[in-house]
Amino acid sequence: MDRDTATIRSIRFLSGALLIFWLVVPLVPLGIWSFARGWRFPDLLPQEWTLQAWAYAFSDVSGVLQSLWLTIWVALAATALSILVGVPAGRALGLYKFRGKEIVELLILAPVIVPGIAVVLGIHTIFITLGLTNSVWGVILVHLIPTLPYMTLVMAGIFANYDPAYELQARSLGASPLKTFWLVTLPAILPGVIVGALFAFLVSWSQYILTLIIGGGRVVTLPLLLFNFATSGRNDITGAIAMIYILPGIVILILTARQLSGQSGAVGGFGRV
């Protein structure tokens, strides 16, 4: 009996170790490459270590920094717009029952599941007539397709557990609508807004095909730059850009690790990251 449980325990330990190894290992060669000089087959590790790829990545000629600021700006703008539009919509879905609610929910869920390539070719045609192709604003707008439904669904979950009676009390005690929102509603929903916003940011941060088609190759966000370096065979620079590119996500994961372990609807957004 004792030996039996010992075997089961070691099998459990081994499969767990294998699982974690598999989930981490693809990031390892990227990290090593970023510090390698001419790491050729069959060397298991680079013969020479260097900071050249990092120096190049942070220099003005590589375009990495411009891409980084652009990607941050696009993601911040898409997130801000998603908050502005998604919080009210989430309130309607979380607090009220109304006719046609199922259709509204379906309409908001659909862009989460339908792949970008299926809609973006049609949007490209619309944006050509509006003069929004090859522009940063066009890219920000098209990023709303994955970020806005996501923000709305997270906020619907938050408002489903929210009691609007407090607002009525504040109003009856003489607070203005604005003051009520600022002092009563916002503090109650703020944790939800922050988590939703962090993940909306990540969803925009990881978009590829929407940016490629609407930006027409002129709006070069980090993933587009990363893809270009990856296909041009500059593994060292690719590694450095990849490390820069995954940093915000890992910071956000550390900040929100607690929310994830619960039954938060926020996790669903990772389907699009």
């Binding site: 390539i117 299926a118 049609g122 045609t125 995954i246």
Partner: protein, 285 residues
């Protein structure tokens, strides 16, 4: 203000944006797939794009490959994710660290994972070097082709890497919410460990696993950058083929690209139907 008015005003901006961008994009895509676009003088719709699509061998090969990628990735990810959740729900030393490492790649974009897989599994990649170290191969070309290969192994490896934590975190949350009471009852009534998993726990978590799998299937069927980086040239995955046709110098190929986009949208529509059925049934029960 009446409740109806309030609801309308709260929803209007979001529904407006989704209608114009999402439904608008789909509608224009559909019109152009019929070569119908009065604004630019195309006033006579036709089925030419669909006819040439459904009589093209490349399209069928591409569709079959994409379905294979999506189906295989989803099934393998779901099975491993359930097993991983069973492991991680136990309490053990260092659980916090392991949970963090398990969730690490949730926030890592697919493209980064694809490049990592490329550097690990290509014929001059890390595993080929290890094989050389152990004397199993002497030249890179002797290492089996696991990327740019006809079976899309590299692409599937990438999706499995990325989707195990995605499904796993959802299943783990479900298991923690259920607790172990049901299984304890089954065990005390004489069920084996396997029986209490198969007949008690699995039916309880199955709808959740399926709805997460539906999201994964739709994503893996429609993603562009991963097969573009790790896939072979011919046949290419459907989204890659659609993009190539769309950016072809020959503008006549555009309706075909739109028709492929519509095929992907229809498949995603089926997935949405399945997803809403699954989640509704879960709410009802």
């Amino acid at each position: 203000m009446s409740d109806r008015m309030k609801i309308f005003l709260l929803l209007a901006p979001a529904l407006g944006i989704i209608t114009v961008l999402f439904l608008g994009g789909l509608a224009i895509g559909l019109m152009r797939s019929f070569n119908y676009m009065p604004v630019i003088g195309l006033t006579e719709p036709n089925f030419n794009a669909y006819v040439s699509l459904f009589s093209s061998r490349e399209f069928y090969l591409s569709f079959a490959l994409t379905f294979h990628i999506a189906f295989t990735s989803t099934v393998i990810s779901a099975v491993i994710a359930v097993a991983a959740a069973l492991l991680l729900r136990r309490s053990f030393a260092g659980r916090g660290v392991i949970n963090f490492l398990f969730q690490l790649n949730l926030t890592v974009p697919h493209l980064v994972g694809a490049i990592g897989i490329l550097y690990l599994f290509s014929q001059s990649g890390s595993f080929a070097r290890l094989a050389h170290e152990f004397g199993m191969i002497s030249r890179p070309s002797e290492f089996p082709a696991l990327v740019f290969d006809p079976y899309a192994i590299g692409i599937i490896l990438q999706y499995v890497w990325k989707e195990i934590p995605f499904i796993g975190v959802i299943v783990l949350a479900q298991m923690q919410a259920l607790g172990q009471d049901y299984e304890s009852v089954a065990r005390s009534l004489g069920a084996s460990k396997w029986q209490s998993f198969r007949h008690v726990l699995l039916p309880l978590i199955f709808p959740g696993v399926l709805s997460a799998s539906v999201i994964v299937f739709a994503f893996t069927f429609g993603a562009y950058e991963i097969p573009a980086l790790l896939g072979q040239n011919y046949p290419a995955a459907l989204p890659v083929l659609a993009y190539r046709q769309y950016t072809d110098v020959d503008l006549a190929a555009r309706p075909e690209a739109m028709a492929m986009a519509i095929v992907i949208a229809i498949l995603a529509g089926v997935m949405i139907w399945a997803y809403t059925r699954l989640t509704r049934r879960r709410i009802r029960s």
